[in-house]
């Protein structure tokens, strides 16, 4: 409690939640500890806000200046009073007809700089709003939605820039990451995630090579590098028309924040055929390995392996499977997978583990400096992968593939030691997990599940300490904030935003 009061009284960053990953490094770690292993049993709902907006709610809310800023499906957003949940303003933009979306009309949250909020709209635009009123300050178009481009992820503010990814690799697009001037909306730079021509793309396949960038990256101010994961090459499961490694798809790229130039890249899955986007949060943490301090970037990749890379140069430090993997016999010292033959999708269907959604997909992950552990949800699941014929038509679905019906799969919330990739503990779940993860200085890990529970686990042991049935599937990650001396946990569940706190003393 004492520690909490010190934080609450002096450090706004501890009380607020002002970016997708909580800090630039993407930790999703709250320094608040009023809700802790001793008190969490008394955690109770404080308010709910019904958005009355159908669709999947994947948002990370931001909280500052007493307000909570929530984005929702279908180009909606709300500003809510963070103590009472009462709506203060709302934002809605009509969606043009026929926007191509692979996976629903979703949005994953705002970015903030000063009094401005930034979000993407589904039709591939970036909009700046006034945080006080919701008024639009500017709106810039990333790329033409009629060509298959769209946008769903929370932007990342780096100095005076708003950096954003895009979506649309299933529609024959060419992926990129854009940076816009935060005040004017003018584009400062663009980095394509599909290299133009060269040996890694046969013929002109790079022009529709995919590599979308649909989860927010992270930023290391000391190196001035932005880290961003890239998605699958297109078409997904038919690689005959795109021979080669298909750089920089299924990769992590490190970008100079000022110039937009790629400093290094690391490709997790060369010439991917299973839709294993490398878009999991690139979490930046400093590790001590064999007595030597290392600036690392860590990720639980969709291809089934956990990776720790040296974030100054992209060299692999650790690569270890965290779920059932049938396509590769480990990762070589150069970081390339050692492939197992006969795992490519076929016309008749070929069963491979992990399945299309991977061992860990996009769901937010967390790193706790208190335990030194990395937390994420994982699936134990295999799938039948089918290759199929498809002609490219601009702006049309271009996946050349399908997968078999879902096999029942269970899952886990995992805690991994990033220095070794070894599992410290896991909490088994009866279905594949849907939600993201939050770690706190109260020694807790929070996550929501497919059946609607918000769960608190002991961050050191994985023991469940508290739960609440929200009544809606939890896809969004929980966050934490403090106001007037009280710590809150907040999460979107179903169509509802819910906050929890300890009873008033």
């Amino acid at each position: 409690m004492k520690l909490f009061l010190v934080f609450a009284g002096t450090l706004a960053f501890a009380q607020d939640w002002t970016s997708y990953g909580k800090n630039d490094l993407g930790w999703r770690y709250s320094e608040l500890d009023q809700i802790n292993t001793q008190t969490v049993a008394r955690l109770a709902p404080q308010w709910m806000y019904q958005t009355n907006t159908p669709g999947k709610n994947e948002t990370t809310p931001l909280v500052f200046d007493g307000m909570m800023y929530v984005t929702g499906p279908s180009n909606n957003a709300w500003a809510l009073d963070a103590v009472t949940g009462r709506p203060i303003w709302s934002y809605k933009k009509a969606l043009p007809a026929n926007v191509n979306l692979c996976c629903g009309q979703v949005n994953r949250g705002f970015a903030r700089r000063g009094t401005a909020l930034y979000k993407v709209n589904l039709e591939g635009t970036l909009v700046a709003l006034d945080a006080k009123s919701g008024a639009v300050r500017w709106e810039s178009t990333l790329e033409d939605y009629k060509k298959g481009y769209s946008a769903t992820s929370a932007p990342l503010v780096v100095k005076n820039l708003v950096v954003t990814g895009m979506a649309g690799a299933e529609y024959g697009t060419r992926g990129f990451i854009d940076a816009y001037d935060a005040d004017t909306g003018k584009r400062a730079w663009r980095v394509y995630t599909v290299a133009e021509g060269g040996p890694s793309w046969s013929a002109d396949s790079w022009k529709r090579g995919g590599g979308s960038t649909w989860i927010t990256g992270t930023y290391d101010p000391s190196l001035n590098l932005i880290y961003w994961g890239t998605g699958n090459p297109g078409p997904d499961m038919d690689g005959q028309g795109r021979l080669g490694d298909n750089l920089y798809t299924c990769s992590l790229i490190a970008i100079d924040a000022d110039t937009g130039k790629i400093k290094w890249h690391f490709q997790f899955t060369p010439h991917d055929l299973h839709d294993w986007d490398a878009i999991g949060d690139p979490v930046l943490t400093d590790l001590v390995m064999e007595g030597r301090p290392v600036k690392a970037v860590i990720q639980a990749n969709r291809n089934g392996f956990f990776y720790a890379l040296d974030r100054t140069n992209g060299k692999v430090l650790v690569a270890k499977a965290y779920t059932r993997v049938t396509w590769a016999d480990g990762i070589g010292p150069d970081g390339r997978p050692v492939p197992i033959a006969g795992q490519d999708p076929t016309e008749e269907g070929n069963r491979t583990c992990p399945g299309m959604a991977g061992g860990h997909n996009w769901q937010a992950t967390a790193y706790s400096p208190m335990t030194g552990l990395y937390y994420f949800t994982s699936s134990e699941r295999c799938m039948l992968f089918y290759k199929t014929k498809q002609e490219f038509k601009e702006g049309k679905w271009y996946q050349a593939s399908t997968v078999g019906r879902d096999e029942p799969g269970n899952g886990r919330i995992d805690a991994i030691d990033p220095k070794t990739g070894k599992l410290a503990w896991y909490f088994e779940t009866v279905t594949s997990p849907t939600g993201g993860v939050l770690a706190t200085a109260g020694g807790l890990v929070f996550s929501g599940d497919a059946e609607g529970y918000l769960i608190a686990l002991d961050a050191k042991t994985g023991k469940p300490l508290w739960r609440f049935q929200t009544g809606g599937t939890v896809i969004a990650p929980p966050i934490s904030y403090a106001l007037n001396g009280r710590q809150y946990i907040a999460v979107a569940a179903g169509q509802t935003m819910i906050t929890f706190s300890l009873p008033k003393p």
Binding site: A97, N100, Y386, T402, R405, D449
Partner: protein
Amino acid sequence: MCSAQNTTPAEAGRWTFRILCAPCHGIRADGGRGPDLTLGTYNAGDQDADLYRVISRGVPGTEMAGYAGRVTDDEIRQLVAYIRSVGHAQAAVPGNSAAGEQIFWNKGGCGQCHRVGTKGSSLGPDLTRVGRQRSLAYLTASLLKPDADITPGYATITVVTRDGKKIVGVERNFDNFSAQFVDLSGKYYSFLREDVTSMTREPRSLMPSTYGKLLSEAEVQDLLAYLNSLRGAR
């Protein structure tokens, strides 16, 4: 690349089907999460225009989305052609449906767990429209080998209580912290995981796997004929 010149509409439709439709309707159109489309009869109507309408606009209130914005009119017509090419009026079912109905309610005891219309029990899946939803091959497999494919939500739950009692039943809900299920006598149970010794869900059926022995070959055919005739109220 296939070209329109040397490809039949049904063949062109097949490739589109694999991409857009197969995730729900199966790679061979024989069903999965979505209905079996090889039966030659469809929930929303049996004319080409009905199929076109459903593909184009979807079916409100179901998971069937409209595809008008994603595919062209020609592609929808190709999909209809493909569905027509795999849909076949079913081979005449050899059994006697009326005799099968008697077996269903008497010797087979099927109504102790299944419902048809307002009659029977709701322990297992409702069979009121099963002849429309499932192929004869699927029904045969389900009758003789009940574990072959479990309808989601009907797995077997086993709970061992703290005092060592084992209770088995059909799933009503199963999550990370609790299980709700109904035993074969129809009794409803709800347990919290923390209150019991163990709680498991298995992808097997509580339906007896002995119908191949209990019933003669002719009786099996009669029962299948009855199940195949169940097309709901419409």
